[in-house]
Symmetry: C2
Subunit: 562 residues, 2 copies
């Protein structure tokens, strides 16, 4: 093989010397009887069976977020993995907590969600396919609920559920646009009660969000019971507990809820568990995985979906209220390419050296940096190096960070790996940030009315002048207060590409208002989703789906996957 | 606990001394590197990695079938497990091959599919829930195909697929009657192309049948490619290979296709793998599991779905044509209760002693016995003992079998276990039958026209006077010949409760005709389904679903499951 050939992620992963997961577990201090093997390289951890030495303080959390994402790709997962490897290399006891990838998009677009280059979690093909079946279990629980609901209506509808006011859908872990809007229950009296319906993708299920915010099996059951799936003819909310099936749903999730242990190319232990959307949900791995990692390690590197305006804000205001997982340090991943795009350069020209465009786009990064500071934490900027970056561009950005008083480092964890020296400087700055005193606080108190919570996020984080509620959203605000849900935090569903609700407004726009068209109470997960603009909860496949190139070789190994 | 209390299946299973699956594997002669653990008590076997001593002849197959099933339950799986345990107790090297249970019905009706009493496979709760995720993988592959098909139509429909002539549906492993008849692709041009559709339960998917009839990964890919999912506007069949996604579907099934190793209460190794319907499919575990068991053991005890008219006939005429898995012995499970019911006694009175009713119902058993002989094998009748059976009833049946020249034994494998002495006599008779010379042959040659194949089954096995084809079925017969599918075997879809196509005709009816209303070519699985009467491919939930009683205790163990 020519040394010039760039290896694919799958090729790099296959050549990496993957270790038995029992060895990774032992080094991480996990007792063998808390480990449930899924083949030689994956295992579930039963947190109830962990025997840990007393007195160890909970590991400190490093939250990896990013500037506003672009189609160019910023490498947030790659940076998360590489940073953790570099911290481990520097002698820290580190564990990673990451989301599980969704199968649907993998069949559509080429590309996985397990990092890239020399900063990947392994076995990446397994993790990107069925893994340990967690998403399948969530799909089953979700669809069992809806089969039970429609059966209840069919069998006499004792609860008086209004089939026109259902707020919960069936799900598949598939990109299947034909299922977005459907009519079910056709075929006459023996086949059910007709109603308008639709499927979402599994990661958009409220059960996924519930799964990821539960602290244990009991809490999972309580939250499942609290899910509102629709309303009665008298407009009263109907919950899973009203139907009495939260026990069965918990049973279907009893194994899935145990975090999955895997490893990076450098051998750092990683918990990959849960994967809710970052728009209609909070967008980070399970609370149980984060807490388990905190029990086992001194430093936990975790990731939040999309840019810091969405993922990080939700991590701070939703997840960090349930348990003490507030970050000690926040990393904002930036790239020269993304800055150029925020500065107005089209995707095709991102490889052309252009310091002016970097400068023109830096306002986007600046707003994210300022936002993180509003939670009492000074972020570290990780400049994820790409082959097309010039020294002039990188130097300009480092100088800008210095002038702004922001810690920053260039990282080449894709090319050199965090297990190599690609992330040493970044790791040193992050380690210092972890040890620095922080003053973490939420953005708003829960007692604040929902309307004001939304206004606070929109003005403080997005930089908008204000918010406008549609007539249905105003009606829902009143309902939310009436039903006693006003004390829940808010989960904003907004395009990830812009601070505004219009994906085409890049950079750091000013003088705009955000339009809230609908509010969806997710009473199981415990937040109110505010929909701004169109949010896709069931993606479609492209004209040439990646599936067409996929196959299995004679040894049973995947080909054409990435 | 009072000694009079009857333990539930779940309680018996929980008290059984389950052994590490590595120990079961070692005793079965499976090398460690062919084993992929799924927790401590389940494992997948990679047949490609098996290292077996040369020269061992393939294990002989014992096929467990039954008289026509009744709602009283005959305990076929219980007898299969108990018989294998008894054969092992007698010193034979035995392995069981069984179907995996479907999750859908478990949420509806209380009861699993892993045997009962002291003849169960363990861990029964895991096996009855998600097990190792095989059905989820099949669901994913099935639904990926349909997402890709509808996407193809949406993206320009280069193949000219007629959305009104689709013959393949999406599936869920759920009892969900509301999804039987639906309309998809609503919502305007951005959401797809509207068409009438529906969901089946996963075990009814042709991919399940393909999965269970494939001899290896290559054969799986070939069969997947051969699946006809619909027709073009010119009425030409369109296959998965036309779409070019058989590789991706194979990739989604690459781990599922490895057989699952578990154990019985007595420690006998069991491969539990695949689970196609016994009406619109062939109704037995995967061919790969049967072949792997034959490689490892001297005697393989396996089971066919429903009564011998359906499951056994399909085992002989479909599965046994693909590979050398023809049975050396056939067991027909009969019960006093079922014979009474076939003799006209209502379910509520089955506990009342009634030798006359047993005699009145024995014609049903007699026809099944005669049918098996038509394949060149003299069956052994296993009388599965229930607590309400009287010595007079049992003696009458044994005397009848003796007079007919049929080998028979009473087995109490539910109460005493095959690992105890509950199946010793049955095992002895089955062992003798295995060693006796057999003259196995198929019922019909493949060259026979499809119409005549159906007529042969209907007259020879069901005892009908003849067959009547509907007008659409006649049209389809012509199409089948035109498309070159005339050489495929036939898979009858008929009620399991009667030899006729009318479930209420019990016993051994005569003077009837069977009505074929439709023919469905399953070109991937490799058979033509003949539909007689209504066949349910998506069950519904009852008014009081079992799910309402299910839960998880504080240790994470299931409660209310069985």
């Amino acid at each position: 093989m020519s040394e010039n050939k760039v290896l694919s992620d799958l090729e790099i992963a296959r050549r990496a010397g993957i270790k038995p997961i029992t060895e990774i577990a032992e080094r991480a201090g996990i007792n063998a009887d808390a480990l449930e093997l899924y083949g030689p390289y994956k295992a579930k951890i039963n947190p109830a069976h962990l025997r840990l030495p007393g007195g160890k303080p909970a590991g400190k959390v490093v939250l990896v977020s990013a500037m506003s994402p672009t189609p160019a790709g910023e490498g947030k997962s790659t940076t998360t993995v590489g940073l953790a490897d570099s911290l481990a290399r520097a002698g820290h006891k580190v564990m990673i907590a990451l989301r599980e990838p969704s199968l649907g998009p993998i069949l559509g677009m080429k590309g996985g969600a397990t990092g890239g280059g020399y900063s990947q979690v392994l076995p990446m093909d397994d993790i990107n396919l069925h893994f340990t079946g967690d998403f399948h279990a969530i799909t089953s629980a979700n669809n069992a609920l809806m089969a039970l609901v429609d059966n209840h209506i069919y069998q006499g509808n004792q609860l008086g559920i209004d089939p026109r006011r259902m707020t919960f859908k069936r799900v598949l872990d598939m990109n299947d646009r034909s299922l977005r809007e459907i009519v079910i229950g056709l075929g006459g009296p023996a086949q059910g009660v007709p109603r308008q319906d639709g499927f979402d993708i599994t990661v958009a299920s409220e059960i996924m969000a519930v799964f990821c915010l539960s602290s244990d099996l009991d809490d999972l059951r309580t939250r499942l019971g609290r899910i509102t799936f629709g309303y009665t003819y008298e407009r009263k909310p109907v919950t899973v507990a009203d139907l009495g099936v939260e026990g069965a749903l918990t049973l279907l999730l009893k194994d899935a809820i145990k975090p999955n242990l895997v490893q990076t190319i450098a051998g750092t232990p990683a918990l990959v568990h849960g994967g809710p959307f970052a728009n209609i949900a909070h967008g980070c791995n399970s609370l149980i995985a984060t807490r388990t990692a905190q029990q086992l390690a001194d430093v936990v590197v975790t990731e939040a979906g999309f840019g810091a305006d969405l993922g990080a804000e939700k991590y701070m205001d939703i997840k960090s209220r349930i348990a003490d997982v507030a970050p000690s340090a926040v990393v904002i991943v930036a790239t020269i390419r993304a800055l150029k795009m925020q500065g107005g350069v089209p995707k095709e020209e991102l490889g052309v050296p252009n310091v002016e465009a970097v400068a023109a786009g830096v306002g986007n990064l600046k707003r994210h940096v300022g936002n993180v500071a509003k939670f009492g934490i000074s972020p570290v900027v990780a400049i994820n190096k790409f082959g097309t970056d010039t020294p002039e561009e990188l130097d300009w950005l480092l100088a800008w960070c210095a002038a702004e008083g922001v810690q920053a480092a260039v990282a080449d964890v894709w090319g050199r790996g965090g297990g190599g020296d690609g992330g040493d400087e970044l790791a040193a700055k992050v380690a210092a940030a972890v040890d620095a005193p922080s003053n973490f606080h939420h953005l708003y108190p829960l007692e604040m009315p929902v309307e004001d919570k939304i206004r606070t996020i929109v003005q403080e984080i997005y930089g908008a002048d204000g918010v406008e509620f549609s007539v249905p959203a105003l009606r829902r605000l009143a309902e939310i207060e009436k039903n006693g849900w006003g004390g829940l935090p808010v989960c904003m569903a907004k395009t990830q590409y812009s601070f505004t609700d219009d994906a085409s407004q890049l950079g750091a726009p000013k003088g705009f208002r955000v339009h809230v068209r609908e509010l969806i109470p997710k009473t199981g997960a415990g937040f109110i989703v505010a929909l701004t603009g169109a949010v896709m909860t069931m993606p479609g496949l492209p004209k040439e789906p990646a599936a067409i190139r996929m196959n299995v070789d004679e040894d049973g190994n995947p080909t054409g996957l990435f």
